[in-house]
Structures are given as C-alpha cells and as structure tokens.
Amino acid sequence: MSIQGEALGCAEVAEGPVADRRQLEDPRGELLELERQGELIVQKIDREAIILATKYGRPKRIQKAHLWHHKSCGQCGHIPGYSTSIFWVMRKLGYDYCDPADQTSCTAWNYYASATSNSAAQAAVAVRNFAAAYESGYFPLIHCGTSYGHYKEVREELIRHPELRAQVRAIMAKLGKPLVLPEEIVHYSEWFYALRAEIAAKQVRDFSGIAVAVHPACHYYKIVSGDAIYSADIYGGQRTAVVTGLAQALGAEVRDYSTWFDCCGFGFRHILVQRDFTRSFATLRKIEVMKEEANPDVVLTHDTGCVTTLDKSQFAAQAHGRNVGLAVLSDAQFAALAMGAHPYRVCQLHWHSADYRPLLEKMGIDWERAWGEFQSDLRRLERGEKRYLDWDDADGVADGPR
C-alpha cells in the first residue's frame, strides 16, 4: 500500500482505470494515482472523521466539522426548512461550516429533465463547485441526493475518460481553478447518520410514540451504489442505513412497507411539466401503500425531490377521496425537532403542503403557540425592527413536553 493510500485507508493505488466499473467498490486508489500523475488534485479529509461502512463494507470517512455546504436549489427554493434544519443541527452540535455564495446548482435536475446539457458541461459544473470548496479549505457536504448521485457519476466519467479530464482541465484553467475532486463524496444524511449518537444526546423531545415510514432516495443509493452507507443492523445490510438508523437512534418506531424500493415519482421533468404521472405514482405506489401497510405518523426521506413529491402530491389525491394525508419531513427536520428546534422558525413547516400538525401534537409541540411566535417575528420584520431574522431569532424553542 502506498503512503497516500495508507493515509486514506484505502486499497492499493490503482495503475489505471479499472476496466469493469461494475465491480468497483473504492475509487480512491484511482483518484490518488491520477493525482500522482498530475491529472487532478484530491481534496483530503484532514479533520476528525467518523468511519462508516459502505454497501460492500469498505470504510468511508465522514468529516465532522469544517464543512462546505453544497446547497440544494429545490430545498432552498421550495422547502427551505430542509436546509435551515441541516445548518441548525450542525450549529447546535458545535461544528463550524461554510455556507458559500460561490456555489451553483449541480444542474443535474435539468440534466435529467431536459437533456439540454452534456457530460462535459456537467463535469465542469461539478469540478467548479469542488474547486470552490477546495479553495475555501472546507470539505464539501452535499445536501441534495441528486447532486450526490450525479457527482459520483461525474467522478466515474472523469476517472475513466482522459479526454473528458483534458476538456474540463482546460475549462478550469480559463477560470483559474484546478481540477479537484474530494476524497469522498458525502451526503448530508450520512453526516446525520454518523452523528446520530451526538444528536440523540441533545434530544429534548420524546419520539418513542412516533411511527415513521422511510423512503430511501433513489439517487442516494441506486447511482454508483457502492458509496452508499449500509449497516448489518439495518435490514440486515440489505437497505441503506441512513435515515432509518437516525430515526431509530431518536427512539422512533420505523415501520416497513412493501414498495420501499419504488421511487417517489419525481421524474425530474414530470414534477414540473407532467405531474399527472408524479401525483399518481407518489400517492398510489407510496403514500397509500405506507398508510395501508404501516400507518405511520410521518414519512421521512433524505432528498429534495422526494420531500417535494411526497408532500405536494397529496392535495389533489385528497380531493379524489384517496387514502392520503401523511406528514412528510426530511430526516434533518426530524432530527432538528427532536433537538428542540422551532417548527416554523427553524423547520419552516409552513412551506409544506401535507398536514404536519397532528404529528407535531404527537411530538408534544403546541403548534398554534409556535405559529403565534413566528407571526410575532414576522410583525417585527414588517415594523422594520429588523431586516432579516437570524440564528439567534431561530433559537426560540416552542413550548412542549421535553
């Protein structure tokens, strides 16, 4: 094992791209070899990290602090409490981070929806973002499941195709940036799973009476699947451990249902311009099945599109008398609520469509009082007392049993 390979805890440094990518479990050896050849830079994990197991058991390091938050356009735009909950939990655990403005979308939503792109553009967008993280000294943490999956696809393409590397390197040179890839591509839900004991240690609300159904996000564990996190303790290692492991650590009861493997129905272009498919799939194949087989209090998932689809698709089905009406949260919002976050100031649940109020009541949260507190905040803004609310404002905790 090379010194570099040993430092990263990975197998032998590869001599070239592995021919059969289907059997590849650890791309880090190839990345290090490309770095040795001067083809690219590998941003290393250089701070305290927690080691998790991937699908096939290789160790994946999750850096705890000093993280560069690669935000999600769908989260920030339409369900902003998803993003603010991620930040809030990290702040509460005392880990520093960078919320950058020199970040663009991964643009993969458009890539998968309209195909008005190509592999070179997608790789250049990814590397530009990774270069921005590298320049900052913070290690990237990816908020969106699609960004996470797509960036792993891009990494595969860059490893395998020297002509693509050359093209991207030339574009980066025009931007004054290097071709950089991180040692690991890390999804925020992996960070939450890795830190679940610390999150549970700061839990102030009792979730033992809460039943959850978990929707694992397709782009998290189906694209370049070997990088996703698994554990023998969760469904015998047959499903990803993130989300389920976190919910269990918080004392909730995770209930199974038969269509867990099905996608949510997002469809990328469908959610925007052909929602008859999205609504039908989300309700008939997911929400109704969950209700009939598991009857949970909430659906937990870990991707932008899944929260949006499962939450927004229920209204029309309800009008048709279907068996829907189930709160939908991200794992980050769930964890934040467990740690005492305000349902509106932090988790921003007023941006959601499916009724979350029965869930809050079951969690012991007086949502009417919390809404009144948030309305008071808004009046302060309207009166011009403040231009924006900040993290200090967000730290007001709604009353309820602890």
Binding site: T84, F87, N118, A124, K174, G267, W351, Y388, A394
Partner: protein, 244 residues
C-alpha cells in the same frame, strides 16, 4: 459498423403501432446517423453490457407501471443496433423515463436510464419533434438554471403554476418576500434564486455553458429562448472582458 434497417415500424411485436405514434418516418440514413451519435457518446460503453432479458429493470421501473415504456426495450434496441426501434424510442419513449435509475438493478450492470439520457441529448441536439414537444412548457426552467445557476426559485411557487399543490402554495406566493426574510440562513433571503449566487460565480458558469456547447443545445429546441440566453451570456462575458 453493423446496423439493422430491416423493417420500417409495422406489425411487429417490437414496435408500437405506427398510426398511433404520430411522428413522421425518416430515411434510414437519418436513423443510422442518430444512432451513431448515441453510440459515439463517451458514456455509452459504460452503460450497456448486454441483456439477459430477465425483466428486472422493468419490474423496478416506475414509468413502466404508468406508460407504455420499457427499459428492457431500450437496452435491447441499443444492443441490437436496431436503428428503426431506437428512432421510434427517441420519438416516443424516452421522455417517459423518470430518470430515477431504479433500472441500475440490472444484473448485467446495464444503465437503461443512462442510455435514455444520451438518447435525449441526441434528440435535443438534432431538434427532434419529441424533444421540442417534451420541453414546450419547460423553457422557463432552462432559462432559470442557465441564467441564475439555480434550478428552481421561490418565486416559481405560484398557484397558477402549481394549482394541484394545495392552498399552501398560494400562502407562500402571498408572503414570499416576508417569509424569505424570516429564514435564518443569510444566503437564503433571495426570491428569484434558491440562494444568493455570487456574480463572479455566475460568470464562471456562463463560461462553462459556452465552452461545452451546452448553450447551443437550446437553439435546436427553443430558438427564442436561445436568443435571450445568448444575449445575456455574451453581454455579461463582454462586461467581464472575457473572450472565448
């Protein structure tokens, strides 16, 4: 190369009924050219290894449950180099794919969803009718992502755009500016983008669109949108003194 141009779409189990498909047929040379573009993509060899015809991909596919769509047919047509069927799929099938990549369950390691991605790009690049029709209502999204660097924005949440998302969408629209100012994260007070994207970063993104030909792809499916974007991008790059 070896290509199959055996039969035009007709009474064959592999083809959809031509009377219902609604697109015009084209010369074999055009079909061959389009398939050659699909095959020439650097990703193609990573996405197709053969097919057991086991149907696992179809069983996992959400689109197959709601449409006359089959990821197995996608992989098989590409593997057989059946340019007639590939052409029909490019006109009829590819926009039904959900791009969820459940089909990666394939025991051969095929990626039918990835093949669809490539076929869509070729359909866009060649201005096929299916691409134009699929993207008719999508132009505003292309404009948003290419001009601002974020895909969807808070000000897109309007009741007329999402009437099926319930009255909460109207609440968001009515209170948008105030609710965005109530977000504790400093980068998220924006209404026209998901977060505040730095000006320099946007310029860098424009360079990427120009250098990779991504902007040119829009020209074939929406010339009007292309003109608007081209003017915006070139003007901004000129201001920055960037020549490409």
């Amino acid at each position: 190369m070896t290509v199959t141009t055996a039969q035009p779409p007709g009474p064959d189990a592999h083809y959809k009924v031509p009377d219902l498909t609604g697109y015009g047929d084209v010369a074999d040379e055009v079909k061959v050219r389009l398939f050659e573009q699909v095959k020439a993509d650097i990703r193609f060899g990573d996405y197709l290894y053969g097919c057991y015809e086991c149907g696992i991909c179809v069983g996992a596919c959400p689109s197959a449950k709601f449409y006359d769509f089959s990821p197995r047919r996608i992989a098989q047509a590409a593997a057989r180099e059946d340019v007639d069927l590939v052409y029909q799929q490019m006109q009829e099938d590819i926009w039904e794919c959900s791009q969820c990549f459940s089909c990666l369950r394939c025991p051969r390691g095929n990626n039918p969803g990835g093949i669809v991605t490539i076929m869509r790009e070729v359909a866009v690049r060649n201005g096929l009718t299916s691409a134009k029709e699929a993207l008719v209502a999508y132009s505003r999204i292309i404009y948003k992502i290419m001009s601002t660097g974020t895909q969807v924005s808070p000000d897109m949440l309007r009741p007329d755009a999402f009437p099926d998302w319930g009255p909460e969408t109207g609440d968001v629209a009515d209170n948008l500016e105030l609710w965005r100012r109530a977000l504790p994260a400093e980068t998220m007070h924006t209404t026209t983008t998901g977060w505040a994207v730095a000006e320099r970063t946007l310029v860098e993104l424009f360079v990427i669109w120009m250098e990779t030909g991504a902007l040119d792809l829009v020209a074939r499916v929406d010339p009007g949108l292309y003109s608007i974007l081209q003017e915006l991008v070139e003007e901004r790059l000129e201001e920055e003194g960037i020549e490409l």
